[in-house]
Amino acid sequence: MNNLFNNYYELAAVILFVVGLLILLLQRNLIKKIIGLNIMDTSVFLFLAAKGYIAGRFSPIIRDGVTDASLYINPLPSGLVLTGIVVAVSTTAFALALALRWYQQYHTLDVDAAVLKNALKKGEQ
């Protein structure tokens, strides 16, 4: 239990991940699904950033010519976060473009209603 409280960043990240996952899987509205996707991505970034931080050290920008690595935090996870953010932004844009196309075809953002409409249309044919 103590371990959980000491690692509360990781705990929060896992909770956020599950929240995002549930939104992605259970919500019927497409925009909400995409928001769930974003929450999930963000939780991974929180996890990454928390893993890179070392208490009491500085961000990895050389100050006053001090190059001793033990004074700075680990820059690699932060770099990974940047890469991840770029990927997440492009994913969101792609998913939103698809949602737009979806709306133009079904005139609804509700997944179940759209599937129903599609089935009815097939039935008519």
Binding site: L76, G79, L80, T83, S90, L98, W102
Partner: protein
Amino acid sequence: MGIAIIVLLILGGVAAWVCKNDKTARLIALAVTAVDAVLAVVMTMNVASNGEQVMRFGSGFIEQSIRIGKIECFMACIFGIIGFLIVWASMSMISHDVEERLIPFYYFLVLALLGTLNAVVFFESMIGIFVSIELSSFAAAGIVIVKNQTENVHAGLKYLSLSILGSSLVLMGMVLLYVATGSLMISGIGEVVQSGGFMGSNSSYVVWAMSLITGGVAFKAALFPCHIWLPDAHGTAPSPSSATLSALVLKAYIVFYMKMMFRGVGFEVIASSGIRTLLNVVMVVGVVAMICGSLLAIMQTDIKRMIAYSSVAQMGYIFMGIGIGTEFGLFAALFHILAHAVTKSGLFLVAGSIIEQTHNRDLTKMGGLGKLMPITMALFTIGGLSMIGIPLFVGFNSKWNFATGIVDSANYWLLIPLSISALLNALYYLPVVIRAFFGQEAKEMKEPFASKERPVKDLLPIILLAVGVIIFGVAAGPVSDFLHSGIELLTSIGH
């Protein structure tokens, strides 16, 4: 050489897109994939005679490493040659499914997809792998959606969101491994994990990280309970896209997983730690996938959905091979990658030809089709027999390898699901063949069957794939030897 292949494919794709003319785009795509196939073969011969190629560039965070051993060459050859045959077959088929104005964009997506798949396999550094995985899933979702029908948008969104879920899990696993080992290279991780004493105190880190990566790869490569996107995506995509997706795209993630598991963690650590339990789970889930994928395939009436569910079952075989966790199991899984790629791309292209000629996707209405389209149905028969595992076809060798792997690792109970699954495969491929050649019911139905065989020059790439099925079925020796020596490189940390 590896870099050259990736750059060539992506630049070729951009060129196809920029030219804005569908005829030129097709020619560019054909030429680029042909050059890619030649380069892959040359690279393979080079690696076979001179050993691994390693390339490092950048430093620190952006330090990337490309390491090309025999297995990577094997995958590059599959991507190159089968990719070329699929693009060749798509020359005459694609205008049936994709609007003319979108054809240059379609070929951009296909070439970019092939390039990023090669990158997933070649890279050894986590950042490179992660970015390539993401890019390849965008391109893969793209070639589903490009058909521009409502079902495609639906399938594409489902595919995209589950892919992103998969890559988030993979990223989390990579970070955990980085935190535990301090390395972003697969072989760097391997050095730390396989050094004595590490697993004692950090075992739970590695097990958690590998579980996350397994979960992510299960989504990306459609392991059974996570396969829900596959039938929609593969069933509704244009037929050449379906062939690419199931023959090539799923396989790249599998090879990444193999490298993480057998180079990053290694046989010895697997045998003596919690990873063994994880692999047992993978093995059991793979067995469930083999059976359930086939059962679901039997229930389908749409020809492409049936073939798509068959892919779910075949991915189960591959995961079972990985789950066995011995060199033989790994070899069987790798050989099945080849067997499935050759056979399934042929089957999807045949299904595409049938749909194009008859405008009929319903399996129950295909009676007597063998008399109208004898060559096409003969190719389907070859594919079906290979999937069932009849001797002389590549599927038989593959099943034989799995059986030897199972006996070698003493998990004898696995032989039962293996044979049941072969029987189930027969239950859904043979009725189609029998109905096509001996069924009469469709003779009266004029409309959908007022069609003829496609010209042989359009069928040639599919015929070549079928020839491949038979060649690898009769003479698998050289490939097997190459794979056996490749596995040593795959599992060694080296350099």
